[in-house]
Symmetry: C3
């Protein structure tokens, strides 16, 4: 198992849990929770792979990803049912931001392997990181959080994709580039929510 796989698995775990929490908050049953968690965790990477024509898709050859997502969905449902956890909107901001940074790194890393240009690599980082959440919100019939004014979200994925690309190009080191990417996304996202930072344009 490569380092990239391990980072990917952490990203999947983070997004599965945030997806499952969102679905559970909307009162869905286990099948709904699993499907929403799956879409959130795999939607962005699937779109990236389809756009880049990378087959088999990153999760098709790995049934353990599907089974793992199912187990995490059941666990999240059980915990939320029996612990009566009331989760506010804010509760998923940090795990979501960590997932955002991990997925930006994975997205840019995969895309670099295919030898495409810098703008495409950054765009694929952003798509990998944000599109699962966009699909989740579309399916739940909401305006995707990414497009709501007044918070940086896609901008965080954009910034952390660029940071990953720069650190990776400068040092050639995957781990430090991923760490920088995750830190960028998390810090930028938390600051944005806390101090209401928005883009001037």
């Amino acid at each position: 198992m490569s380092l990239l796989n391990i980072i990917e698995i952490f990203g999947i775990a983070f997004f599965t849990v945030t997806g499952a929490i969102e679905a559970k908050r909307r009162g869905m049953d286990l099948v709904g929770v699993f499907v929403i968690a799956f879409i959130t965790a795999f939607g962005g990477g699937t779109l990236r792979d389809v756009i880049l024509n990378r087959y088999p898709l990153f999760w098709i050859a790995k049934p353990e990803y599907i089974v793992g997502t199912l187990i995490l969905s059941i666990a999240t449902s059980l915990v939320m049912k029996f612990r009566h956890i009331k989760l506010s909107d804010r509760a998923i901001i940090v795990p979501d931001a960590v997932g955002l940074g991990l997925y930006s790194a994975v997205g840019v890393a995969y895309t670099i392997q295919t030898g495409v240009s810098f703008p495409v690599a950054i765009l694929m980082g952003v798509i990998t990181a944000t599109f699962g959440g966009v699909l989740r919100d579309i399916v739940c019939n909401e305006v995707p959080v990414i497009f709501k004014r007044g918070q940086l979200y896609a901008t965080c994925a954009f910034a952390s994709s660029i940071v990953y690309f720069l650190v990776r190009t400068a040092t050639g080191d995957h781990i430090s580039a991923t760490a920088a990417s995750v830190m960028t996304a998390t810090i930028l996202r938390i600051f944005s929510v806390k101090y209401d930072i928005t883009l001037p344009l």
Copy 2:
């Protein structure tokens, strides 16, 4: 023409009619009715084929599928216009459930051919059966029926995909596996609506 094609055609016909009825109930014109019927009937199989990299897509090499869907859409529009049929929500439950069982069977059958693992085969059965309806509801700006609490829907596709897989593996017979799949989806769906059966979790 293979047996699988014939089952596929029945599934397409069922979902085309349910899609056309839904579009007509929302007051759409013929082009809208055709597009919604097309998305409902071909959306799930298209996503399955894109995920599995099965090209050409199952309907690209078959213009008769497109023409047939157009004719069925016109027929449904005409019947609903001149017979002034008022269709309740319940009217499409049985044809929709039959389509669900047929598509689950087709989805699992195609996926088995590509030699992927059991979890992927079941997931593809569910996607083939449900995703056309998900797309239809997304395009009509509704929360997809699949995610509404209080009814089994994806669960029916899930159960009938597993039933198809088991009967097919045990007997090797495509017809009896399909029949079992359709019966599972239809009975489970009707019982769920009639007796308000829901998942415990």
Copy 3:
């Protein structure tokens, strides 16, 4: 650069501007404007290429398309911010109709190259022309304009795809077929909006 590329670039420019205007009217920031403009301009062609298995996607090998869309999005945002332009719903009807005709032509032209049947070619023209707008409306959580009763929209793409196919087949000339396609879409769309023309069925 081929003639088809030049027509494609004009289509991209038209749809980028209409997408950016729509996003700006909803109060989105620059990242949101760029993403919506990108989805509007590239969504239909991307779906067409994925369905036809034409890789690399038409924009992957052309980073200048991505950069150009970004520059146009910034320019549109700046103009709308500092000129305080209030754009009515009607303001984008003509550029949108021109884009519709251009994209129908490009969609049919690409599809003819792959040697598929007439119904598929027309369907791909319609998908190329309309699906970017469908995705834009879905992401903004609206019923896609294409499905609202009382205006011809998909019908315009349908008519101009057929006109392109016929003129191209009759004359073999790409330019006159494109001109006829654009005129068909624009005239039909303007008449439909002005005189409330709808389909009888």
